[in-house]
């Protein structure tokens, strides 16, 4: 059990929670903190949508037609436990537009394996520029095809 010999208030200031874990001996905690953060990005985004709308869990539950306990459970779950239906319901209740983005993982993210749930597991097959048929593809059409291959957006 923890003990205290001195309870004087010498204080230090930090700009973020992660800054509390910068020493080498904090590495184990830092790694677990980062893993938890990566597993709850979407859940946290839902919580922030509710907070920005100024709603309590009970108020959101009333809008979504479920219990406050259900909202509490959703907001303490992992991204992997969410369904598209839950995300849609949050978006509707907080008057938010919903878009799902599939992005190619950056090299650093791909190496660490910490993709989160917003990024697809397999990289996409790049979309090819239009084949030369009778019509000539303009430079801007080729550019937009390449951009679309890199970033695909699905509106729900």
């Amino acid at each position: 059990m923890k003990t205290h010999n001195n309870t004087q208030n010498t204080t230090r200031r930090f700009e973020s929670v992660r800054e509390l874990l910068t020493r080498p001996e904090d590495k184990a905690v830092r790694d677990q903190f980062d893993a938890l953060t990566a597993q709850t990005r979407l859940v946290q985004e839902l919580t922030l949508m509710r907070t920005r709308a100024g709603l309590s869990q009970a108020q959101l539950a009333a809008k979504m037609g479920c219990t406050q306990g259900r909202i509490s459970k959703i907001e303490s779950s992992l991204d992997a436990d969410l369904t598209i239906g839950i995300v849609q319901a949050y978006a509707r209740a907080t008057f938010s537009d919903m878009k799902i983005w599939f992005l190619k993982p950056s090299k650093q993210v791909a190496r660490s394996g910490a993709r989160g749930t917003l990024v697809s597991k397999k990289p996409h097959t790049p979309m090819r520029a239009p084949k030369k048929t009778g019509l000539k593809a303009t430079a801007s059409a080729r550019k937009s095809a390449k951009t679309a291959a890199k970033r695909r957006v699905v509106s729900v």
Binding site: K2, H4, R13, E15, S16, L20, D26, T40, Q57, S77
Partner: protein
């Protein structure tokens, strides 16, 4: 102005103990603290922020728990006190069920001192 964190010496001591003895609990509680910080930034009124991992105590003290950090974790509470005027979140102490009443007493004394300092 963004919210920042201010620690007490007791928090620093407790954190050391948790880093060595209960790193998983500490990571889970800090993840929830990070979520709370983001909610403070996003909320139209920071004092109305609510969540399943937040437990209001007396004198405006809030306990952040380890929920969502996985199963088989010891019940852990990180006690914080928010000052919206200076956008400061004071990290008071961290403990478990066994130390709960002593922790809350310490938090109440600390918050009283903070308020007295403010009044002067």
């Amino acid at each position: 102005m963004r919210w920042s964190l201010q620690t007490t010496e007791r928090w620093e001591t407790d954190k050391e103990w948790y880093v060595k003895k209960r790193p998983a609990e500490l990571a889970a509680v800090l993840r929830n603290l990070d979520r709370y910080m983001q909610m403070l930034e996003a909320a139209p009124n920071p004092m109305t922020v609510s969540g399943g991992f937040l437990h209001p105590e007396s004198m405006g003290i809030l306990a952040v728990d380890q929920k969502g950090g996985g199963s088989n974790l010891q019940q852990t509470r990180l006690y914080v006190f928010a000052e919206p005027e200076t956008r400061t979140l004071h990290l008071l102490t961290i403990g478990d069920k066994a130390s709960q009443s002593k922790d809350i007493q310490f938090c109440q004394r600390t918050v009283k001192n903070l308020r007295n300092k403010e009044a002067r």
